[in-house]
Amino acid sequence: MSDSVVEKEASMEAQKELLAGYFARLARARDEKRPVVYSFVPGNLVELMSALDVAPVYPEVNALQSAMRQRSGGFIREAERAGHSEDVCSYVKCDLGMLMKGNVGPTGDTIPPPDLLLLSFTGCFTFMKWFELLRDQYQCEVAMLHVPYVGDGNVTDAMRAYVVEQLQREVIPKLEKVSGKRLDLDRLSELLARSRRAEEDLAWVFHSARNRPSPIDAYFGGVYYIGPIFTSFRGSEEACRYYATLRGEVEARLTAGVGPTTPGGPLLDERFRLVVEGPPNWTSFRDFWKIFYDEGAVAVASTYTQVGGSYERGFRHDPSRPLESLADYCLSCYTNLPLPQRSRILADMVSEYEADGFVIHSVKSCNSFSAGQLHMLREVERLTGIPGGFIESDLVDARYYGQANIKNRIESYLQMLAARKRDGGSAPRPPVHLQVLP
């Protein structure tokens, strides 16, 4: 399965080069006297970091890139030998294990230690503990941005003001301190204007899945599409060029009426349109994808591609109000939303993209986001009248991924959808709840 010839789009090759260049530059950061700041993807403030010429590092991206290169297992075992439990987030253990083994990144370049840990807290409690561990290891300062949880799905002026105030009082001064420069708001606005250009193209690409056949796979292909904009390239000319190229490719497929490019070649027969919730499994990414494309199943939308920005749902950075715009960006990240809002987004996407079904991929070692996913499954079923599929594995720990089990579940789910299409099967019944015991 994994030995098949992999077809790649030009934009994927371009992205590979972007990534390699990024890690190479990072490896030179110390020599070039560029400060290094570690941060996380959801709610990342990359334009702010770029405006102050600091080099960003994303530990969870390192983890997933290591997993795709089959290196996460060794790192995880290293962290477990040091005492971390099997149940701890596998991103965390992969990162800590990598650190213990010399901090050699996925491309073979050494990742420099941080001058600052910039914690933009957008819903994942583990991020906080992760950086506490790194702070202990590196003995460096943490800049904490507390993004309020958007409990009812509505961002208020008070929330925005609270985030902006922290940017001014806590985050920017600490970034200025490590960079040795003062923040130039005009430069920040220029960066945000470029972010906006790239965001327009990315949103167009995701919206192209409304067509039949969809010219993209918004989940398996989508994780490549979000790569530059979710990480260190937002606000750069390189990102603008990448997204213009990507849009051109998708436009060409749309005009030709062909489906997405998969590792097995162009998908010629779109038979199932799915919405997907949850991150993919990275250790067996291609095998995982193959289960879907072998059955003609295309993801027309996903929530994972919104964890680092809700561009598909309309958010754009606004260069005319830079700090407020950064605040809105953090507040609207998918990770910062409550279960009812997440369910509503899924249900809306099922309707907007005319999906046949939806699949939730629950992650074993991620307590933050897996909790409540069964509730979401039932809620989306109630809202759409369509049964959902549920699968479980992990982010970067191969021990939790069972190809036969997941294949069985996905095939069963798709056959169930096919039977519904053919015989007009019933909508899911409301669940029969357990009795409350005295």
Partner: protein, 435 residues
């Protein structure tokens, strides 16, 4: 007669069901899933075809039908015993230095097995879910022990011959036709010449009957290994749903605990699946777990449930992890827990895990049907009844006497329905479906 075949290749047993063009079951076959999946499926399929011919032959035999049927399956196993004897001899001869002593000892054991065939391979043994290798293995073991004590041969050497021979024997397909076995069965069962001639004529007619399999669908844990076109493969989740509906039409919830996985399935009024959940990669609490427990306690799988039902104070079990199964039992026995109490606790633990999947799939509706190999275990059924009552209130819990065939029946019914080209891949390449 046009027939539709469903094959369920499970991790423990392989089942085949044939239905006619009215969707009625006309033949069933079952065997243990061995290392060679192809042989297991072929044996199950042949047994189902044989079962269908046997039903035709027995149709007009009135009071003699039961005796001839019983005799038929004993005779089938006698042919298997003869094949095993040949392989055992060859294997024994090949043992360096021991062949001349081993062959007569093995011959003696096999002769005893042939003499006892009527008791060994009766309907009661089959209803316990025992297969040829289980029945023969247990008795061979006992006879080898006797033989060793008498003849001075090492027990391990005699048993070693059997262990090698049975692997080859069970992967060999019997080269004997229906008519021949049926004739032997009649000779064995009936004394009266007139009734015997009448039965033999019915057997010849049945052997000559045209049974034409015009559609087939495969399912089960090993379905990807079946030599069927891709379009003729169905998920066992859908097949168990449809099979349970066919057996008990008011079923709305299906719990299937098989050897390798547990599935909680919700179905609608026509047997289509509306929701399901199954265990993740870890197979804790599935049938395989009970198999390990049985081995650990040197009990037959079928003995676990009845023993557990005699418990007075079920032990508290903390894990249904198959890896820790032995440790768990030894720990509890070492602190004085009774074997039956430990077993009762284990059965409750398995069902507790299944209850979680049921809740995740949408709960337990008015009528639940329990399927899969574990549904044959009375302690598992009792634990399920208790827990469903405690958590959902009064519900009808069905265990069909043919529940082991639920998946294969669903597959046969899918074959009967045909596979519409519009919804399924490569339908035009499928030669086996009835579309």
């Amino acid at each position: 007669m046009k027939l539709y075949l469903g094959v369920d290749l499970g991790s423990t047993t392989s089942k085949a069901v044939l239905v006619d063009d009215q969707g009625r079951v006309v033949g069933r076959g079952i065997t243990n899933t061995r290392s060679n999946y192809d042989v297991a499926v072929e044996i199950a399929r042949r047994d189902a075809m044989t079962d269908a011919r046997l039903a035709l032959a027995l149709r007009d035999l009135g009071a003699d039908a039961a005796a001839v049927a019983e005799s038929f399956w004993v005779c089938t196993d006698l042919y298997r015993l003869e094949a095993l004897r040949q392989i055992c001899r060859d294997t024994a001869r090949a043992v360096p230095g021991e062949g001349p002593r081993l062959v007569p000892a093995i011959d003696l054991i096999l002769s005893r097995l042939v003499e006892e065939a009527g008791q060994l391979f009766n309907a009661q043994a089959r209803s316990r879910g025992s297969f040829f290798r289980d029945i023969v293995g247990a008795r061979f073991h006992a006879l080898a022990e006797e033989s060793s004590q008498r003849g001075g041969l090492e027990f391990e050497r005699v048993l070693g011959v059997y262990d090698r021979a049975i692997l080859e024997a069970e992967n060999q397909l019997l080269d004997v036709g229906f008519a021949e076995v049926f004739a032997a069965a009649v000779e064995r069962a009936l004394r009266d010449d007139v009734r015997r001639d009448q039965a033999l004529a019915a057997g010849r007619d049945a052997a000559a009957a045209e049974l034409d399999v015009v559609g087939f669908v495969g399912t089960g844990y090993g379905r990807a290994r079946l030599p069927f076109p891709r379009d003729c493969i169905r998920s066992e989740i859908l097949c168990h749903g449809l099979g349970a509906h066919a057996m008990l039409p008011r079923t709305r919830t299906v719990l299937d605990i098989g050897g390798q996985d547990t599935k909680a399935i919700q179905i609608d009024e026509v047997g289509l699946v509306t929701s399901f959940q199954m265990n993740d990669r870890c197979a804790a609490g599935c049938g395989r777990y009970l198999g390990y427990i049985a081995d650990e306690l040197s009990l037959g799988l079928h003995e676990l449930g009845p023993l557990a039902l005699t418990a007075r104070r079920p032990a508290r079990i903390t894990s249904t992890c198959t890896v820790f199964a032995g440790t768990e039992i030894r720990d509890l026995l070492s602190v004085g827990e009774k074997r039956e109490d430990v077993l009762a606790g284990l059965h409750r633990a398995i069902v507790t895990r299944a209850m979680s999947l049921l809740a995740r799939s949408g709960g337990v509706s008015e009528e639940l049907t329990f399927t899969g190999g574990v549904a044959r275990n009375p302690a598992a059924v009792a634990a399920l009844r208790d827990m469903v009552l405690a958590h959902y209130g009064a519900r009808t819990i069905n265990v069909h006497h043919d529940s082991i065939y639920t998946g294969a029946l669903g597959a046969a019914l899918f074959a009967h329905r045909g596979v519409p080209a519009v919804d399924l891949p490569d339908a035009k390449e499928c030669k086996g479906c009835s579309a």
